[in-house]
Amino acid sequence: MERVINSLQWPERASGSALVVAEEVTKVYPGGVRALDRVSLTVRRGEILGIMGRSGSGKSTLLHILGCLDRPTSGEVWIDGVPVTRLPERALPALRLRKVGFVFQSHNLIPCLTALENVALPLRYLRLPARQAMEKARAALEAVGLSDRMHHLPAQLSGGQQQRVAIARALVNSPALVLADEPTGALDSQTARDLLALIRRLSAEQGQTFVVVTHDPLVGQACDRIVTMEDGRIRPPS
């Protein structure tokens, strides 16, 4: 898989400060629904980019495509220099494993795994030795302030704690990019503020790039930059 990824050339335009480049990305679902219409977007290294817009505006579809969970009907995407839209389907799990971390709105965690085991999951898929995986997972949980909840099951954690575990899991294998889909959607405003502060801190400390999809203005305030989507397109800055 590594070989497939490395054998493809780095396009010039994806070098330098751009971590993600999406070019003319269109997604048409079977039945003719045009979820994305020629969307072009660049995400810079280390920034927190907010994608805002009403539900149905195409922001989740864009996030899925940036995260290689879904493939565009046309257009191209580069992540960290890799032209992901040109990779075969079977190369995508390994790419997600190494380059991308995900945080969803809720129910992010595997219910029958402890917080620590949830965070260690991507490392297990990377075939890291168990001890090393547990050490890294422990460090990641400490970074999100949950060193005292490592052996709790998700059901024993509050909503905010669950989201922090999800962030620890998204960061544990040091991905180039963390994608968050409404990460505060299920949280009250104080917990949401704490979570956003955490994201800001991690971004500052680790230079981590975040793309956050949200319709919550609170989240918008925490982002370095905002793009707004409307009917499958990015609204030009006014």
Binding site: H64, L69, P93, A94, F102, F104, I110, C112, L113, Y125
Partner: protein, 387 residues
């Protein structure tokens, strides 16, 4: 660990599925125990007949199917025959009705019997567990098969009452799990007297030197050839069975029985496996979102397939272990209940236990394949929409 917590999350469903497999494996184990017993009987028979050509009379004097001294001499004179072992074989108890391990009074001629033992090969030889063979000329003595001794609660020195006579027990045979376990070996003269006493025809004819069947001891690989020579040189009216014929017939009988017995066990197990398939499909449906998350964070198809396959293998193995344990209980129960027959009806061998558990695991794997593939092929975006 994750698997066990998944099981405990769905304790009732997983438990019932394991129980379903266990019931199938219980049937398989008990049936298998029966097949193992038949196998041992047939193996014992094969070993016994490896060096022996069986000779019976089909007619003879007054069509009594008896062999007379001149018949024995004719058999002995065929080239390649090393010894002729003669028997008078009678039911031990004519009033006993059906017996799981039929008991026979077997009159043998001790010097000829011992020579035949020497020639019968390691597996075709009867060994004494205790006591000793009687001396030539001794009368009213008996060596008991192990099942007879156990069933009639007799030991060396006790008196056995059979067919209107009493015999002093001088020896007990080692257990063979085969036909000789039901034998009572007695001096041939005693067995002949029993027959004559009970048959007015024999008394009237005044013959006193017959036997009911004979075995010619030969080299195993010459069996067929010697049977052909024997058939050519003996006058008609004999039934001859070569070692090869007997072994083949035994092999066929054993294959047929084992297929029938194990077949019914296998059907029971397959029903259990279908329950596993069903449970695994439900588990996949229930964990759709989990699968979506795992795929999003980079699980490969194989990671997902392996997770579900291991789970169904574990269900299979747990069901197998439980089923074999229950089967062992049933087998010991039935054997205990029928112990007055003197011989176990079912035999639980390590081979059977190993096969049963391995089979359960393999079946679990087979049952998990389709659900696991379905899980692996779920579209992550669609899977993530599930809550």
């Amino acid at each position: 660990m994750e698997m066990l917590r998944n099981f405990s999350r769905r304790r009732l469903r997983t438990g019932l599925t394991i129980l379903g497999v266990a019931v199938g494996m219980l049937a398989f184990t008990v049936m298998g125990g029966m097949a193992e017993k038949f196998d041992l009987i047939i193996e014992g028979g094969k070993a016994y007949f490896t060096h022996r050509i069986a000779v019976r009379s089909a007619g003879g004097l007054f069509r009594l199917n008896l062999l007379e001294p001149q018949d024995i001499e004719a058999v002995r004179s065929v080239a390649g025959v090393k010894e002729v072992e003669t028997q008078i074989l009678l039911p031990l108890d004519e009033t006993a009705g059906f017996e799981l391990a039929p008991r026979f009074l077997v009159g043998v001629d001790m010097p000829g019997f011992l020579r035949a033992q020497e020639l019968a090969g390691d597996k075709g030889r009867l060994r004494l567990r205790e006591g000793a063979w009687w001396q030539p000329g001794q009368r009213n003595v008996a060596v008991l098969g192990s099942a007879v001794a156990r069933r009639m609660k007799l030991g060396v020195g006790d008196l056995l009452q059979a067919r209107g006579r009493s015999f002093r027990v001088v020896g007990i045979l080692e257990e063979t799990f085969s036909v000789p376990d039901g034998w009572v070996l007695v001096p041939q003269e005693d067995a002949r007297e029993v027959m004559v006493q009970e048959s007015s025809l024999l008394q009237m004819l005044g013959i006193d030197s017959f036997v009911t069947n004979a075995y010619a001891l030969v080299d195993p690989d010459q069996g067929d050839q010697i049977v052909r020579q024997m058939a050519a040189s003996l006058r008609g009216g004999f039934l001859l069975y070569s070692p090869q014929e007997l072994t083949e017939a035994a092999g066929q009988a054993s294959t047929l029985l084992n297929t029938a017995i194990l077949g019914s066990g296998v059907i029971a197990v397959i029903v259990g496996a279908l329950a596993v398939v069903n449970t695994m499909f439900i588990a996949v449906a229930e964990r759709t979102r989990e699968i979506g998350i795992k795929k999003a964070i980079g699980a490969s198809r194989w990671d997902i397939v392996r997770e579900f396959l291991l789970e169904s293998v574990l269900i299979g193995l747990l069901g197998g272990i439980l089923g074999v344990a229950l089967g062992a209980l049933v087998i010991y129960g039935i054997n205990w209940y029928t112990q007055d027959q003197g011989t176990p009806v079912f035999i639980l061998t390590p081979r059977l236990v190993g096969t049963a558990i391995l089979f359960a695991g393999l079946l679990g794997a087979a049952a998990g394949v389709m659900p696991a593939l379905r899980a692996a092929s779920l579209d992550p975006v669609a899977a993530l929409r599930e809550y």
